[in-house]
Amino acid sequence: MIDAALIDKINNVLAEEFEVDIQKISPEAPLMDTLDLDSLDLVDMVVLIEHNFGFTVVAKDFVGIKSFNDFYHFINNRINEKGAPK
């Protein structure tokens, strides 16, 4: 179970950074398409994760992340693994 506060934080950070309507973000929505991400936006995503969630991401972390739900689980798992601050 993922903490609702963490999901809110992720949604807010993504909506603000990628300038999308937060209403468009839902667990089943496709992450890349909803945020209209390309390879350069991925640079922003890497920096955003590191600054907001306190861990370093590597290329393989993004393999298999299709929906926001996948993304929530990825962030949650890495925070729990590393004991990084939420």
Binding site: D38, S39, L40, V43, D44, V46, A59
Partner: protein
């Protein structure tokens, strides 16, 4: 930022590895003078047989630097000749003949300090002059330089390096169409204190770009190098090596210092603006060393 750039470069450079290896052979067997002599004929050959490149240089001469028709015809030949000389010289320099060259440095103290320090640095160059001829110079600081390039370009260079048994001398960061791994490689290299070199003047397929007034006319520049430089937070150095005479080069360096006066200007735009202003100055001094052989201006 714009997508679907109109002056997109294909990701491949003209001139095969075989032709390059012929010059390597001549430099080794007959010396630099013989290679230059052969080049004077090869440069002529390219005028009719590389029509797209010839047209782009002609347009540059006529419409950007405003030369007349006769002067532009000479300019096209000199431009191709200069490109060939830069290829020969970088080959010679990387093969250990760098003592045959004279290098002058326009390196401000703030740049020397960064290059000599422990921090990684982003070095942004251009398809102008001969930046590779200075690669051995960066080695004096005892750091690895990683060069970010299109995978198609790297595959061509790889054939040459393999033939010369020098594959380990060059550690590129290739950009492939179907992977984002170069982003992480760039970040990791910078964290290890390495230099990461990128070209700031050439679009990549499907890459974002921004229109800039460059040498008086609008042109598209890629945003990739500038976004990477802005986000990772390492020092950014603009670097160009200009040929100033026979076997003589001058290295120009400039450390990017933020000029953002309006909070609405994003840092990548500020870096891009500083880069194009500096590039414009050095290109204006040596326009015959500008090597973007495609429709660069809109």
């Amino acid at each position: 930022m714009k997508k679907e750039p109109q002056n997109e470069w294909s990701g491949k450079s003209r001139g095969g590895a075989s032709g390059y290896l012929i010059f390597v052979f001549i430099i080794r067997r007959a010396g630099l003078g013989a290679a230059y002599a052969l080049l004077s004929l090869v440069a002529l050959y390219f005028i009719p047989f590389a029509p797209r490149a010839t047209a782009s240089v002609w347009q540059f001469s006529r419409h950007i630097i405003k030369k007349g028709k006769f002067a532009s015809a000479l300019f096209v030949y000199r431009n191709f000749l200069n490109l060939g000389i830069s290829l020969i010289d970088k080959t010679a320099a990387s093969a250990g003949l760098d003592k045959k060259f004279t290098f002058e440095f326009d390196e401000p103290a703030n740049v020397s300090e960064i290059l000599a320090g422990n921090s990684g640095a982003v070095i942004i160059g251009a398809h102008f002059g001969n930046w590779e001829v200075g690669a051995p110079y960066f080695g004096k600081y005892g750091k690895q330089m990683r060069v970010v390039m299109m995978d198609a370009e790297y595959q061509s260079i790889k054939r040459v390096l393999q033939a010369q048994n020098r594959l380990d001398a060059f550690r590129p960061i290739p950009i492939t169409d179907d992977s984002f791994s170069h982003i992480f490689e760039i970040r990791d290299s910078l964290e290890r204190g390495e230099y990461v070199a990128m070209q700031g003047d050439r679009l990549t397929p499907n890459g974002k770009s921004r229109e800039v007034l460059f040498m008086g006319k609008p042109a598209l520049f890629p945003m990739g190098p500038f976004v990477l430089a802005a986000r990772f937070g390492y020092p950014v150095i603009f670097y160009f090596a200009v040929r100033t005479g026979l076997r003589k080069y001058r290295f120009h360096f400039s450390l990017y210092e933020p000029q953002m006066r309006q909070s609405s200007v994003r840092q990548e735009t500020d870096i891009l603006n500083a880069y194009t202003a500096y590039l414009e100055r050095v290109v204006a001094q040596s326009p015959e060393q500008w090597y973007n052989f495609y429709k660069f201006w809109l």
